[in-house]
Amino acid sequence: MSSIYFIALPLLFGFTTPLLAKLGKHGIAYVSTAMQTLLFVLALSLLVSTNWHIEVISIAPPLGISFVLNEVSLFFVTLFTFLMMLFSFYYLVHRRTNPYHQESKFFILINMLLAASIGLVLSSDIFNIYVFFEIAGVTAYILSAYEKTAKALEAGIKYLLTGMMASVFLVLAITMIYIYLGSLNLAVLSQTFTTLPDNIKLLISLFLLIGFGLKVEIFPLNFWVTDVYEGSSSMVNALFSSIVVKAYLFVFFHLLYLFMPASEYGTFLIYLGAFSMLAAEIVALKQSNLKRVFAYSSLGQIGFIFAVMASENANALTAALFIILAHSVAKMIIFLSIASIEKTYKSVEIKTLKVMHSPFIVLMMLLAMLSLLGIPLLAGFVGKFLALKDFAFTGQYVVLAVIIIASVIESIYYFKIAGNLFSKEEKRTGLDLSVLQKAVFIVLALVLVLVGTAPWLFSGFIHEAAQVMLDSPTYANMLSGGLK
């Protein structure tokens, strides 16, 4: 079974859409959803028999591009295809009453986004990573500007400008890597990167930090994020928050572990992440727009994940993967709920929640927010508990304190939202959700509950994935050996 299909099929779908458009009004929607389901089934079937698989393109690894499928990349591929599939099912119903204009283009874009996110995770060639970085970027700019309102266009322009800056610095970093090391393959680079002179190493890592940092949404470089989230539609935000950012996070730390294992920058990155979280949660308190609140909440969670991943040990990374899983699923629930709220009430202010009448959505949002907070028996708890335990063991008490303070602040505005949800004001007509949409929510909620109540079902695989991700010598050996 080849990992290339995860990228080739969405690309092929994008290219064939003009033909598929002849299948009738719903043809593209069904084909797209069917393809994503197929990809998810494919990923699941690979989960059963995980071993290293290296997909060679044209020429063997040290020279050419290749795609590496191992436990950790499979974890992300499964997560992305799962969420994208549920998103498509949700949109199948959503589009009946509220379709995007020129809808076939929307399907092309989400599939390209999926292909690019998977490509970022699988690729083992740094220039190829840049190409996927650009595909994901261009797709995301168009998706944020899709509605063509002034706000959406402004969000698109801001996103595009920061993305352009990021790509200039990323290209500069890649060119310097090739000039000084003479290779683009991650396996070769992981062996030779440490031999560079210190100041060149610093320069390259600075450029990589600027390039990826703008996309990973880490503290000094995340000024654009909330504006983009506010301007884009909630459906699109669900994709940004639960799929795209996770792919960038993986690539950033993948490169960090490969290039600079156990480096002195680790502590710096931990503090960067922790303070990023604190800053985001404090600013989130003052927001009145649901999209902005949850955009800041995303920034906070990403800062947390960043800090945990920067700790660079297997236990912390296991925790980080659990948090990524929980956060992706929870944010998918929340942004899809906001999308349905926005559709019915045409407003995303927190006050809107007071007049909302829908026990189902209230339950779902509450579940997702409790999970984000880290309440026991929900998925968020597992990751947060493991992460805090690890920080305590390694003696990072300042970080521990910062994260706990940030979590307390986070709980304040979640309770504010919950207070609005349970407000006794007169209720207006409720939301109408179809059975399929409810099923999507229930599946997502079940994942949260299942991971929370029975983490041991997943912890074996995730712990293995964490170890694989940290084990850069094995990665390099496997890749340069060109194992089939």
């Binding site: 706000k151 352009m164 500069l172």
Partner: protein, 130 residues
């Protein structure tokens, strides 16, 4: 005297130094433009200049003036003593991608101008806390 100057210019280290200094000055001009400009098209132009600087830096650092272009012909019958083709391929890709992104950005700007009549990015403040 002038001959000495020419031979000095032809030394490898001098060529590398010229490439580094020249492309970094160009990069500086682009960055400077980016920081002082406010018209959206001018910002795009500044970023384009930065990209050109990066491309020149890359190709200039990986070339060797004793070697030829990596193409057979003109009496070359084997792939020896040729410049590295990978940078050329990478820059080819990067140029096309850069152009695509700029065209997209320009179309966003046109559409925004049509709606709001603004081209100054400092005045684009529909979003955010009012």
């Amino acid at each position: 005297m002038i001959d000495q100057f020419f031979t000095f210019l032809n030394e490898d280290s001098v060529i590398t130094a010229m490439v580094n200094i020249g492309s970094m000055i160009l990069f500086f001009i682009g960055l400077f433009g980016l920081l002082i400009q406010r018209h959206i098209l001018r910002i795009f132009i500044s970023v384009s200049i930065m990209e050109i600087a990066v491309f020149l830096f890359f190709i200039g650092n990986t070339f060797d003036k004793r070697f030829t272009a990596p193409i057979l012909g003109d009496g070359h019958t084997a792939f020896v003593a040729m410049n590295d083709p990978i940078p050329h391929a990478m820059i080819l890709t990067a140029i096309v991608i850069g152009m695509a992104v700029f065209a997209l950005g320009v179309s966003f700007a046109i559409e925004y101008f049509k709606l709001m009549g603004k081209t100054d990015i400092n005045e684009m403040n529909e979003l955010g806390e009012s």
